[in-house]
Assembly symmetry: C2
Homo-oligomer: 158 residues x 2
Amino acid sequence: MNTASGSPELIDKFVEFLKSKKLRKTPERFALLEYIATVPGHFTLDMMQQHADESGFHVSRATIYNTVNLLVEARMLRRHDIEGLPTQYELASTPPHSHLICTTCHKLKEVRDKYFIAFMNTRKYNAFNTQYYSHYVFGTCSTCARKRKRNAVTTKKK
Amino acid sequence: MNTASGSPELIDKFVEFLKSKKLRKTPERFALLEYIATVPGHFTLDMMQQHADESGFHVSRATIYNTVNLLVEARMLRRHDIEGLPTQYELASTPPHSHLICTTCHKLKEVRDKYFIAFMNTRKYNAFNTQYYSHYVFGTCSTCARKRKRNAVTTKKK
DNA sequence: TTTACTGCAAATATTTTGCAATATC
DNA sequence: GATATTGCAAAATATTTGCAGTAAA
């Protein structure tokens, strides 16, 4: 069965990968792929499970892990282990971007820094064959900066 | 007690942090700091524990976690969660660098890309107050590339 | 003397694995 | 029909927490 009807390129790529590894095309795998194809940015395992359950097709945690690991191996999915956040995944086909991470509230924001992207396209590391990169910028987001300032003022007033 | 005699700046910074938070200067904390000060690159919690045990001063896992978390909060230590590797730590005072990570053997290599560093110094993200960044470049290292090529040749010969 | 810290063990969280039943090929 | 996959539960791993004894201030 194939339920991921909305994303032919992803399906084709996954099918090809499964064939090459002599793995099976199970409904669970395609149901999860369908969800992945619809999410614009990052998502977690919990989100995948929740979506599957909500759409009336329960998929076990073990199978979700299995599928996600296959998709990572197939280079269709990328994994982000970021301190303070549950493991995040995103489609490898997402255009390159940087991640701004607030060290106070741990919120994550994607930004397209076109100068950075262009610059990175010029970088080569001698004997290393680059596939992709992850860029995390840590700092304080405007909301947390505002809160901190407010608290500082309050303290002074005392 | 203060055993981290070899790194006065680090000690001072940690002491100041502990004071500001009304925390105590325990021998365990300084013993771990001393180790950290001597490691050139990345290290893991296991390495810290092993070193402590070898030097005859056992420190419990809970205390190591506690200390490491304090040092991260004090911005003296940075944490790297990299897929396929145990959580890595490194001194925040280490000069900026990029990480090359082989997606096959999971080996990590630090490189100083001075053009990248210079470029990053020009980047600003509007309402975001940048503290530091992490740059991970994923790909195939020369060793794994060679192995793959060799296997391909072997397969052809059959 | 007050109370934060340590060590240990238990608790929690996350991911992997073993196995019987099932479904793909 | 052969065997890969699923779901569940148990195991393995990583980190945090509760608590009683200890030590820093």
